[in-house]
Amino acid sequence: MLRVLKYVSLDILKNKIVVVYAVMLALFAWSAFGLEDNTSKGTLTALNLILLTVPLMSVLFSTIYIYNSSEFIELLVSHPVKRSVIWQSLFAGLSISLALAFILGAGIPILIFVSLRSALIMILSGILLSVIFVAIAFLSSVLTRDKARGIGISILLWLYFTLLFDGMILFLFFRFSEYPIENTAVFLTALSPVDLCRILILLHLDVAAMLGYTGAIFKDTFGSFWGLLVSFFLLLLWIFVPYVWSLYKFRKKDL
């Protein structure tokens, strides 16, 4: 496993895109905190950065990388390397490098400007989001042989999780605002990793006070220690399920 991981990591590093990604994140984050006169505005900008850019970069880069590694995979399969080892190494290589890029690029300014507790939650969410979308990329690229279709699925999933899902929840809120739907809303947010992260982070910022009654319910659910634990567990599930499913498919795939 480590031997294969070494070559995967070297290849990703040689590719340089992840390095540029880290630099871009750093530029964004530093300018977000530097431009705004109060930190909480800067934090919100940084939050949107995490919630939109990080998933997009993770899912697209990983999908294309896996398709481009088809020769590498084929070469290794004809040698005594287990398929699960190949898949694990690719997953670990991509996750580690994307998470590392996030920590180095956005993590450092967040740690400096945001209060420690919120900063830690933000950084942890960013890392988890990176890995979740790598897992989603693995799933969409193993589902189809067609590169264009695989990348298409990845982009659509990103659109769904970051924009569509949010819109749907908002729509539900407006439609059923007369009814007590708070608990349903809490349950529904668990269905999208991006929304889960958004609520987790928002609740630990000062703006949480402005969220109103639903916000209070959210705060009750996600703000407590157990709520935090459950939501991180849910996020881990978002990594685990797509990845294990993709591994199962990959082991049965004809190369």
Binding site: V4, Y7, E71, E74, V77, S78, P80, D254
Partner: protein
Amino acid sequence: MIEVKNISKRFGKLQALDSIHLSLHSGTCTALTGPNGCGKTTLIKTILGMVLPDSGNLYFEGENVLSHKTYKRDIGYMPQIGRYPENMSIGQIISMIQGIRNHTSDLDLELYEQFNLKDMLHKKMRTLSGGTTQKVSAVLAFMFQPKVLILDEPTAGLDPIASEILKEKIIQTTKQGKLVLITSHVLSELEGLISHMICMQDGRILMHEEVQVLKQKSGKEMLSQAMVKLLKEITPC
């Protein structure tokens, strides 16, 4: 050494392998022939675990290996069209495979030297001609001294000199008591190389004979003529 039992594989509507039975022994060199698309490469890829069969079993030295795949340590494979990571150089590919196999001593570097790969180590894989790629594949297949060699169209694309070098190597390897399996369309090329012959059609094995027996049966001296004569007798057309 290798035993294929009742293996079937279907790609959509196409029955690529139709309950194949096959038994190969060490010290033999077997040719796998047949028209295009008859399932030769699928059979080879099944033996290598790259294609997973729908049903049937595969035994390597008496052990069922469809579930655990350590047996691949003992197989050297030369693909028909070698696909390699494009941005790696020949030297990087070779050292990577050595590293991943964790096998850096006791290597068979004969082909490596005879093909003069040393002067091309820095060349990127995407810049290589088909023949040079084949050379890299051949070197990698023989390098780790495997007990079994599976060569898919080994001489296609090689220049005459390289082709002779490779053939000489194959003969030598068979003499060492290893098992060699070759697919090829060019029957005249296999003359003097092989001891057994398999002919496939539409995912089935039509015949599996020793070359000597084949020649006696048909009364022809040339392998290609013997083959054609026997095939005409078998297939009613």
